[in-house]
Amino acid sequence: MSGSVLRGTAAVFGDFVAADVILPARFAFLPTAEAVPHAMAELAPDANARLRAHPILVGGNAFGYGSGREATARVIKAAGVKAVIGGPFARMFFRNAINNGVLVIDCPALIAAGIADGDAVTIDLDACTAVTASGCFAIAPTPPIIRSILAAGSIVDYGRALLAARA
């Protein structure tokens, strides 16, 4: 992501969707492109299609909890997701998403106020707000290191630039 504003439509998922449900471990060794069709496929028949249809994933309480396998973040990114909002989110899910260039924002109030599939969401990192048809919600400031990783594209891109600068 570049700049501070991210806009898109939402795909809304419920509470306690475990990392093992987002992508079962047996698919975690697959090349990411081959794993994407399995992402959230066990949650509901339409969950994979909904995941791919919208750039903003609204995940409920504890979305992504449990396993810390990074394949979970890789498939979400490859499915086209740019930001995950709602939560609160598990810390390894948070780290892995950020490291793959997917913004993660804790903002349970946005879900409580009401949001449905296809609704527009605007996240502004400078203003520290998330806006939906239901209201404008305050979000915590995003620390500089996380902004740098997102701006670079991923921790790999960030690391590549860091090593190049040192050389």
């Binding site: 079962p24 471990a25 973040a73 490291n99």
Partner: protein
């Protein structure tokens, strides 16, 4: 000016990031003392290579132990494992352990790579296990292990700590696993997110390193960043002749600021099971008693050490596993397997009808062996029971102690171990 009184996690992170004092919630760049990896290291190698890195920083402070899909199921996994081995050898890692050595968390503690007071990271959510010996052990993703290899640094948020005060003694038939299922039941699956559980209190010195391991391991199940026991004489005795690196134990300061205190009377606990679907669904075993069980798994990094196998063997010795149950026993490491072979516990389990499998993760994550059929119930000493965890979403997993697992293997239904203990 002396820093304010600090928790174990704050003291370890301050040292590893070269700062005197830290602000909770602040992000620091830290240099871990030890890092390890397992089969998923292929993705760390991908990241390392994609960064254009050529040299691993501190290879002597790195190790690999393959555990998730060993022995390899297919040529993809076999090739991945060969690639990881070649990488570890080329970069002169301190150690490489092939499949069969054991589960990485177990092996790194058992062989003394995880030391008291150290900041340890690994790309696995159950890394907090290392808190059993007083390390701050934190799970990360795979790409950031590649980043760490390349740069020697990692960004970490300074966590708050929950003081878990343990008092009293566990009653007969009640174990560390039951205690942890109770803690998880009380806190919920994200009840300690961005927190470290710091275990202390009058009962702490009575718990073995193996029992501490079970508690720290399942800190992951409350979303914690880590779990850590205050190092004591038990820790020192365990580290003797084992520590791979010099270390300095770290205790919390008197008056350290905790976000919360959770007090537990061990004597008041009864055996628990966590009902299918979520780890915080703990209920007294009596409430689930009689539930038909198809598979019993005594394994995983949570509960498959020598003492766990001894508990199961004491219940199953001279008896037979119920004919409708498959009992799978997977010692947490080869060292555990050897010890249980030498003391006769393994023979007792096998004679009772257990299937012995190579040390590794095996059944736990549904990647490798022991997958369940539709509609089946597995009673497991492992740490997770979300839908599909063991490879089939149409099956269910109930978590319990090795004693409850063994007692239920005997009867074919969920059984309170106190009813079968001699």
């Amino acid at each position: 000016m002396a820093p304010r009184p600090r928790t174990i996690a704050e003291k370890i992170l301050a040292r590893a990031s070269g700062k005197d004092d830290l602000v909770r919630g602040e992000i620091v760049e830290a240099r871990p003392d030890f890092t390890y990896a397992h089969d998923f290291a292929v993705f760390a190698i991908d990241a390392f290579e994609a960064m254009g890195a050529t040299r691993v920083v501190d290879p002597d402070r790195n190790a690999v132990c393959l555990d998730h899909a060993t022995p390899a199921n297919n040529k993809r996994d076999a090739n991945n494992q060969a690639r990881i081995r070649a990488f570890a050898e080329r970069h002169r890692f301190r150690a490489f352990f092939a499949g069969g050595t054991g589960i990485s968390h177990q092996v790194m503690v058992e062989k003394g790579f995880v030391t008291p007071g150290a900041l340890v990271v690994a790309h696995d959510s159950h890394t907090p296990s290392g808190g059993a010996v007083g390390a701050l052990a934190i799970g990360t993703g795979e790409a950031e292990i590649g980043f760490l290899w390349a740069t020697g640094r990692l960004w970490l948020k300074v966590p708050g700590s929950i003081r878990v005060v343990l008092d009293g003694r566990l009653a007969r038939g009640v174990y560390a696993k039951d205690l942890m299922l109770e803690i998880i039941r009380r806190l919920g699956v994200l009840g300690a997110v961005y927190q470290v559980l710091e275990f202390q209190g009058p009962a702490a010195p009575t718990l073995s390193v193996s029992e501490r391991f079970t508690l720290c391991n399942m800190s992951a199940e409350v979303g914690a960043k880590g779990g850590v026991f205050v190092p004591d004489a038990v820790t020192e005795a365990f580290m003797q002749a084992r520590a791979q690196y010099p270390y300095t134990s770290v205790a919390p300061d008197a008056g350290a600021d905790y976000t919360e205190t959770l007090a537990l009377d061990l004597g008041a606990l009864a055996p628990l099971v966590a009902l299918p679907g979520r780890e915080d669904r703990g209920v007294p075993v009596a409430e689930a008693a009689g539930t038909r069980v198809h598979q019993v798994f005594i394994g995983s990094c949570t509960n498959a050490r020598t003492d766990d196998l001894a508990i199961a063997a004491a219940i199953l010795r001279g008896r037979q596993v119920h004919p409708s149950v498959r009992l799978m026993v997977v010692p947490a490491s080869r060292a555990v397997m050897a010890e249980a072979a030498a003391n006769g516990d393994l023979a007792a389990l096998i004679e009772a009808g257990a299937t012995l499998m190579p040390s590794g993760c095996a059944v736990c994550a549904g990647v490798h062996q022991g997958v369940l059929a539709d509609g089946e119930v597995c009673l497991s000493t492992s740490n997770r029971n979300m839908p599909g965890r063991m490879g089939n979403q149409a099956a269910e997993i109930i978590l319990c102690s090795p004693a409850t697992a063994a007692a239920s293997a005997l009867t074919g239904v969920v059984t309170d171990p106190r009813t079968v203990l001699a």
